[in-house]
């Protein structure tokens, strides 16, 4: 049976901490663990997962209090995927009006692109996401109804995540239209960076050509801005 430990590195900012808490309320087969403060967090996460007898781990690694990376790993043998987390909206935001039972089992939607035989890294990511986000059948915490769907899309070399409540409309007229969806949140966008053969390391199986590290992005931006004032006065 799948069990997933969720934890973050020290120095996690509030937004990402909220995101982490949201994922915990969405995954009944998850275990929380305290923030890691270690020189070598990678080995430590595997150790924690082993101690909690978890088969997978979700690790939020925050750098410079701005950049957040999410690791998904099968423990202890691997493989693992590293994502850059972008465009986060947590469940606490008021724009998303959906709501559903806590710990009801989700339906998972994946774009057809994930099954592309020519892009095995997507199949790999799909399997990993399924392991983490699907609730095992007859889990002791599960609720007996199925009222929400986790949707994963692949656009712009990124994995987009949405969570919708499945709404059954009331009344005669509305019944004809069938179900509708209402977004519950959170929203996030995961840019795959690398896939490793082991847990948090090992041979690199995939390396995204479109990923540019936020450090480089910032440096490029600075370079662009260089001499901005001089141009203005000239």
């Amino acid at each position: 049976k799948e069990k997933c430990v969720i934890l973050s590195s020290r120095g996690v900012t509030s937004r990402y901490r909220h995101l982490m808490l949201d994922t915990m309320t969405l995954i009944p087969n998850s275990k929380k663990d305290s923030k890691l403060d270690s020189k070598n967090p990678k080995d430590a996460v595997v150790e924690v997962a082993d101690m909690k007898s978890c088969s997978s781990a979700m690790f939020f690694e925050c750098r410079k209090r701005t950049d957040c990376y999410m690791w998904l790993a099968k423990c202890p043998e691997g493989p693992s995927v590293k994502f850059h987390v972008e465009n986060v909206h947590t469940m606490a935001e008021l724009k998303l009006t959906g709501n559903h039972l806590k710990f009801s089992r989700p339906v998972l939607h994946f774009d057809a692109t994930f099954d592309d035989a020519e892009k095995p890294h997507l199949g790999h990511i799909k399997e990993m996401l399924t392991h983490v986000f699907a609730t095992p059948f007859r889990h002791h915490k599960q609720k007996p109804f199925i009222d929400h769907i986790f949707a994963f899309y692949y656009e712009d070399d990124r994995v987009w995540f949405r969570n919708y409540q499945i709404v059954h409309p009331e009344g005669k007229e509305v019944r004809a239209t069938g179900v509708t969806l209402s977004e519950t949140g959170p929203r996030l966008c995961l840019h795959p960076i690398k896939i490793f053969g082991g847990a948090f390391g090992g041979p690199t199986l995939y390396d995204s050509p479109t990923y540019v590290s936020p450090n480089v992005q910032r440096a490029e931006k600075k370079k662009e801005d260089m001499g901005k004032y001089a141009r203005k006065v000239a």
């Binding site: 709501n99 806590k102 998972l108 399924t130």
Partner: protein, 117 residues
């Protein structure tokens, strides 16, 4: 250290990925109810611009809705309850307190829209 983007080789070990996938996957052998994954259908319409929020969200919504319908059909076939009865009370992911604020926000937006008109 950071290597220049132009002269970097990007690994895409397809064989390795397939082997690794075979190694750790269980969804292929499992029954559908164990994971409830619905693969989206390939459609002709593709998203022209991901940065167009409205177009993107509608696209996402439609795909998720199609999958939700497939899932409901599957669940009904194997006789799993989908709809929550009105008298079933249990903890929700968002608290009543939070939903009250969501509703207040919704009403506030509607009224402010009306006053603007």
């Amino acid at each position: 250290g950071y290597k220049k983007l132009e002269n970097r080789a990007f690994v895409n070990n397809k064989e390795g990925l397939r082997a690794s996938l075979d190694d750790f996957q269980w969804t292929k052998k499992a029954k559908w109810i164990d994971h409830m994954v619905v693969a989206g259908t390939k459609t002709a319409e593709t998203l022209a611009d991901v940065n167009d929020d409205l177009a993107r969200e509608t696209h996402f919504y439609e795909h998720a809705l199609r999958s939700a319908e497939v899932a409901i059909k599957n669940l009904k076939e194997i006789g799993v309850a989908v709809k929550r009865p009105d008298d079933f009370y249990a903890e929700m992911v968002k608290s009543d307190e939070h939903m009250k604020r969501v509703r207040a926000e919704l009403i506030f937006e509607q009224t402010s829209q009306e006053t603007r008109e």
